[in-house]
């Protein structure tokens, strides 16, 4: 079986969990005997690249060489498309081209990628243009390759997925990693909402990353429940152990929030809970790792509460620093207001860090050895954090059992479920 998969990012060029999830998923699919043709737009801002490159997995050294399980990569073909660097196409021109590509002529295909193609020469200014251009390219790619099913991740790629389905007639599976309601609360971007809805309606089947997301998809987008299937995300097992890292230089407990500092992640509840805990135990330290539009507001609030000596900000962490942070952490907290899945607690548990997570997260559906609270319940959050800090028994259990639990949440198993979805879509 062969899948044409549309993604938006792929390690190491990642900004969020989507790239990591796609990475694990493709590996898992490979283990289940599914070949993947992975399409991503070029990482933003690489302007030197005047031509589109279609790369074979073996050419993309940065992604592959670190991988120990190289053999899986033979099944994954990785393509990079310079969507950002293909000059802007005006609306009329775009309409003409879109008409042409509906017929999927080879001529159109080569003209888009030809260096002498008469584009206006301007660069695309916004994401919507990127999305539209991605659709254009996705569709033409679809005619070039042979595959059985199309799989599109998140709204950014849905237009590409639909276009590919229309040109080839192959079944389409769309994957909801996050909904617009998770990103923006009730004040949604209606354009994005429309693309999501259209994508799910056009799809033969819809995969959601949790039942939490499945409910949103059914209730707020009106999608037929029969075609919406939950496949929980998984996590790559880690061979790392805490011993490889420095432990905290503080003599006291460290409680960590790690993620984008945005509305969706509920950083405010973490700050307020920290304040409550510090009234009882002024020795505990709190760390907010990450960056985002609410960072300054959080810094101000911490200063206002006069807890700056116990509340630290690290800025954005990546790679080794993330694991280093976990190594210094006694309790990991994810107080998300609406979290489709939320992979970070699993990464923490994998390194034997006990976690407190909000009930409004997909991950709370799959883990047992975690304390779960409502995100708005600051007292409950404070109680849970304080409990793990203070009571050794619960701490020990979570460290041991949590690790074991996460080690069994393998992508290989999740991919098996995804493969079943493909089979259903194809009608096997």
């Amino acid at each position: 079986m062969r899948v044409l998969m549309f993604g938006w990012e792929f390690p190491p060029h990642i900004t969020g969990g989507l790239g990591t999830a796609c990475f694990g998923m493709t590996k898992g699919l490979a283990k289940n005997g599914v070949d993947v043709l992975f399409v991503v737009p070029k990482a933003f801002g690489d302007e030197d690249q005047t031509n589109v490159r279609i790369l074979n997995a073996s050419d993309v050294t940065v992604d592959i060489d670190h991988e120990t399980e190289r053999s899986y990569w033979d099944r994954v073909q990785y393509m990079e498309i310079g969507s950002n660097i293909i000059p802007y196409v005006g609306p009329e021109q775009y309409a003409t081209m879109f008409e042409e590509q509906r017929h999927a002529t080879q001529g159109f295909h080569s003209s888009v990628f030809a260096p002498r193609y008469e584009f206006s020469g301007k660069y695309g200014a916004n994401l919507m243009e990127e999305v539209a251009r991605y659709a254009l390219i996705g569709s033409s790619l679809a005619t070039k390759y042979d595959f059985d099913v199309i799989h599109a991740h998140d709204w950014l790629t849905y237009s590409a997925g639909i276009a590919a389905k229309e040109t080839t007639g192959k079944p389409l599976v769309v994957h909801m990693h996050a909904t617009e309601f998770d990103r923006s609360g009730e004040n949604i971007n209606t354009d994005v909402y429309a693309i999501e809805k259209r994508g799910m309606e056009a799809a033969d089947l819809v995969i959601t990353v949790s039942d939490w997301t499945r409910n949103i998809v059914i209730e707020k987008y009106g999608i037929n429940p029969d075609k919406v299937i939950t496949v929980h995300n998984a996590v790559e097992p880690s061979d790392k152990s805490l011993d490889e890292y420095e432990s905290s230089g503080l003599k006291n407990k460290v409680v960590t929030f790690l993620g984008r500092i945005t509305y969706q992640k509920g950083p405010e509840y973490f700050v307020e809970a920290a304040y409550k805990i510090l009234q009882v135990d002024p020795t505990i330290h709190f760390v907010m790792a990450g960056t985002g539009d609410l960072l300054q507001k959080m810094v101000k609030r911490v200063a206002q509460l006069k807890i700056g000596a116990n509340f630290h900000f690290t800025g954005f962490l990546k790679g080794n620093d993330v694991d280093q942070m976990f190594a210094m952490t006694d309790v990991f907290v994810m107080p998300s207001i609406s979290e489709p899945f939320g992979i970070v607690p699993l990464e923490a548990m994998r390194l034997k860090v006990p976690v407190v997570i909000s009930k409004q997260s997909g991950v709370s559906e799959v883990v047992e050895h975690a304390l779960k609270v409502d995100f708005w319940d600051i007292n409950g959050l404070a109680d849970a954090i304080y409990g793990i800090c203070k009571y050794k028994a619960v701490n020990d259990i979570f460290r041991k059992e949590g690790k074991e639990e996460v080690d069994n949440l393998k992508w290989e198993y999740a991919a098996k479920k995804i493969k079943a979805v493909y089979e259903r879509a194809i009608g096997l």
Partner: protein, 376 residues
Amino acid sequence: MRNLCFYFQVHQPYRLRTYRFFDIGKRHFYYDDYKNRITMQRVAERCYIPMNNLMLKKIAELGNKMKFAISFSGVGIEQMEVYAPYALESFKKLVATGNVEVLAETYSHSVASLMNKDAFKMEVAEHKRLMKEIFNVRPKTFHNTELIYSNEIGADVAEMGFDLMLTEGAKHVLGWKSPNYLYVNAINPKLKVMLRNWKMSDEIAFKFSHENFKVDDFVNWLNSIPEEEEVVSVFIDYETFGEALDASTGIFEFMNYLPDAVLKDTDFQLVTPHQVIDKLQPTGVFDAPIPLSCRDEERDLSTWMGNDMQDDALATLYGCFKKVKASKDEELKRDWRTLQAAENFAAMCSKHAGGTPYDYYINYMNILTDFINRMK
């Protein structure tokens, strides 16, 4: 003869390095050595050495008619000792002429006077010790960080044995009164108060280069001051000469001709602050119930305190005082002094455009956390 009193501030704070959460409890070194070294060496080369040479030359030419005062911060002296000892030698030579009054101030250029009376006293005592050690002098005139002053601070300073304090002739406090007189403190009249003439100080510090300000302008302005007004005091950062105002602006030529022109064309003589109180009688009370400073249009404390980040950082830092005072750990004491520098809190001020007050606060608090951790 009327009195013109120049006094200068020589000060460099320690710049802090990027101190991450991961450093807490592991690495106790807080300073950006490289930046501190190149800054001190640049300032020594562009300002301290040429300006000191110029002042030495004027003293040689004019003898006892060439008088002025300098206030050295302790942290500035410390860095000069390490990174530019030749500049310190040059200052020693200047002070040894006897024509320069060395002022007292806080060791770290701190705002301790606003936070904790005992910490303030400790700051002043440390500075006093250093002035004795380096220049073999006992300062009698007190000048607080950025001219911060209130009735209470003045009373504290009097209690420490000073009989003269310098502060800002702030309009909102003076009202219709002129800064060009000697005043007394509102609580303890034994403390005389001399006020900076901010207008003339700012003319030199901020307008010199781009408004073609000349020696003649300064002389004409002095002559325009009503005859009964007795003392004009001009306070400028020493680093203005050659550093803030590049040599190419002609600032050194200006300072070369200024003393001669004043002595020749006006009825003013150049004096040190403490000379003034031997000559003049105070004319009234300078009443400042609310603290003031020489910074910004408001002449208030908002540069260092008032926003939540500044207040949290200050409260945390001065919350350590008792433990630091009781400690025998010299390294710890030294770090605590250094972290007090007013610049740390000014960098958390969010009222000016630019700068990164949030980043600065985060970094500073990480350092303080490590510091507190060391005290335990």
